[in-house]
């Protein structure tokens, strides 16, 4: 195995041999700050496909697929059922370690870029947001939990597929626009960008950015977590003082 790898590497560096493209990425920001005025954000990825004399000649144009994966968390799905004349949650399903943000961007519909088999191999597509269930589990999903998760996460803006999210500025220069919703979870976001040509994957590159609370909001969130007693006392004091102040200010009798 190692020998094969060495041979492959040798083939890459040996002059005169055809090479694959290089992919260079740059992000508009490395950190998305959640402040008091945060209502969502946009991160732009700039990509350049580098070729030189030794790069294989391509007949078709390049296709770009960007897959963005946010921090993981737990998603609980509830399904209501009828009990007599009231509706209550009759079953729930818990999905742990699911990306709380997942987005696929391309310049045209994914199906026209790469076929089903290729998408499976590269793990591209919204269905990879949830780990593929075993066939037995799929059988037992009589209520369509899986589809409901995909649908509801999509409605919340936490799961998006945008076939206009990538713009080709030049045949080898592109931008991908990542839109973060107002409820974007804090943490590390990984951007995975693949270049394809006529359905064949050529190269993949990764980049990442962080979403975090800064300034006052970070201060409050930290205080609430780490200094809960002080935080609670402060909240109570503030409430009582404001209530008292209002009484004094508006006092007429």
């Amino acid at each position: 195995m190692r020998r094969w790898l060495a041979l492959a590497l040798l083939a890459l560096v040996l002059p005169g041999h055809a090479r694959a493209e290089e992919l260079v990425l740059a992000l508009s920001t490395r950190e998305v700050a959640i402040t008091s005025t945060y209502t969502g954000a946009e991160v732009t990825v700039f990509g350049h496909i580098e070729r030189d004399a030794r790069t294989i000649a391509r007949t078709g144009e390049y296709d770009i697929v960007a897959q963005v994966q946010g921090p993981t968390g737990e998603v609980v799905l509830h399904r209501k059922g009828r009990f007599g004349f009231i509706w209550l949650t009759e079953s729930r399903r818990r999905y742990s370690k699911v990306p709380l943000y997942f987005s696929i961007l391309s310049a045209k519909p994914l199906a026209s870029i790469i076929d089903e088999d290729g998408r499976q191999r590269l793990k591209l597509g919204l269905e990879h947001f949830l780990p593929a269930p075993t066939p037995e589990l799929e059988e037992r999903d009589e209520f369509g939990f899986r589809n409901a998760v995909l649908r509801l996460r999509r409605e919340e803006g936490a799961l998006t597929e945008n076939d206009k999210g990538v713009t080709m500025i030049r045949p080898n220069l592109f931008t991908a626009r990542i839109v973060l919703p107002a409820k974007a979870p804090t943490g590390l976001y990984l951007v995975n960008i693949s270049i394809l040509s006529e359905g064949v994957p050529l190269r993949t590159a990764q980049a990442g950015f962080v979403v975090r609370k800064v300034g006052f909001d970070a201060f409050v969130a930290n205080a609430a977590r780490n200094e809960a007693v002080t935080y609670g006392l402060f909240t109570v004091l503030m409430a009582v003082l404001l209530g008292w102040m209002a009484n004094v200010v508006f006092r007429k009798d």
Binding site: P71, V75, V229, Y231, T235, L242, G243
Partner: protein
């Protein structure tokens, strides 16, 4: 203008929050109720997670009851002795409530508990008050005076041991039912994010014949102390108090409460109870519809970040 709330983790419009606080404050000043039974559902409705809505309401109720209690205190319409007995029971209930709240939250039943409890509570209390106040108004119209109890005429629960006299409220009763009432209110209040004024006020009027003029101030005093403790415990144990959300609601609330308190003085006892009953019924029906009506979407989803 959007304001990002650090604990609720979503942006909401600042003026919407101020307006909500103001409206709730007005009602709270008008009826001497904390207004939590309206605020918590409203917060949930605009997207605040249920635990944060409940815990933050407690802070808001504490603030608006300071204002109200001070006003009644100055008018000498507050029975401190009665309030203290209620509060002692209330504190025990609050502690039990916070632990029950977090247990239900862990098991994933919190939302259901909140909805069911709201429906049962609001509908039964609302109906009782509605029927009673209509009856009182009819009696008044036909010229018959409301039946008054003679002094010393006691119901069984008032004859339990540990009797205490409450001269301000013109009554004497055992402290056991009073502390028990406080305990129940404290527990329900902490779990549902309500002060419980809409339960204390009628309970004191119907079961203990406390004069209406004193009831409101006394109930505000009890609510104030229990909600201060509830806010603290929710901040420490549930970690769901959003100080920024509380601040905006309180600023709106204290202003609204001033106007409410003044308007309240002009209302007669029966009108007062009828209006409060209607308000409680409307909220109750709103919750009941949620349970009875076929949901537009049978599925609902809840995503949480993992602890880091």
């Amino acid at each position: 203008m959007q304001l990002y709330l650090p604990i609720a983790e979503l942006p909401l419009n600042l003026f919407l929050l101020l307006g909500m606080g103001g409206a709730i404050g007005f009602i709270s000043g008008l009826f001497g109720v904390g207004g939590g039974f309206l605020l918590t559902p409203l917060l949930i409705f605009v997207g605040v997670p249920a635990p944060v809505a409940v815990a933050t309401s407690a802070a808001h109720i504490a603030a608006s009851s300071v204002t109200g209690a001070l006003t009644y205190w100055r008018r000498n319409a507050l029975d401190l002795k009665l309030g203290t007995v209620l509060t002692i029971g209330g504190l025990l209930g609050t502690i039990a409530g916070v632990f029950f709240f977090n247990q239900m939250r862990r098991l994933g039943h919190l939302d259901l508990v909140i909805t069911l409890a709201y429906v049962t509570l609001l509908m039964s209390v609302g109906c009782l008050m509605f029927v009673e106040s209509i009856g009182a108004m009819l009696r008044q119209k036909s010229g018959k005076a409301a039946p008054l109890r003679k002094a010393g005429d006691h119901v069984w629960y008032e004859k339990l041991p540990l009797t205490m006299r409450f001269p301000r409220s013109k009554m004497s009763t055992s402290v056991i039912p009073l502390a028990g009432l406080g305990l129940v209110i404290g527990f329900i209040g902490t779990v549902l994010g309500i002060g419980g004024g809409f339960l204390v006020v009628p309970a004191l009027i119907y079961f203990f014949r406390v004069p209406t003029s004193i009831v409101v101030g006394t109930s505000l005093f009890q609510i104030l102390v229990t909600m201060i403790v509830a806010t603290l415990l929710h901040a420490i144990v549930s970690q769901a108090v959003d100080v920024l959300l509380a601040l905006t609601l309180v600023v709106g609330g204290v202003i609204g409460a001033q106007f409410g308190t003044r308007t309240g003085q002009a209302l007669k006892g029966e009108q007062f109870r009828l209006l409060l009953a209607i308000l409680i019924l409307i909220v109750g029906i709103r919750f009941a519809l949620d349970l009875v009506a076929a949901p537009a979407d049978r599925f609902s989803i809840n995503a949480t970040e993992l602890e880091r």
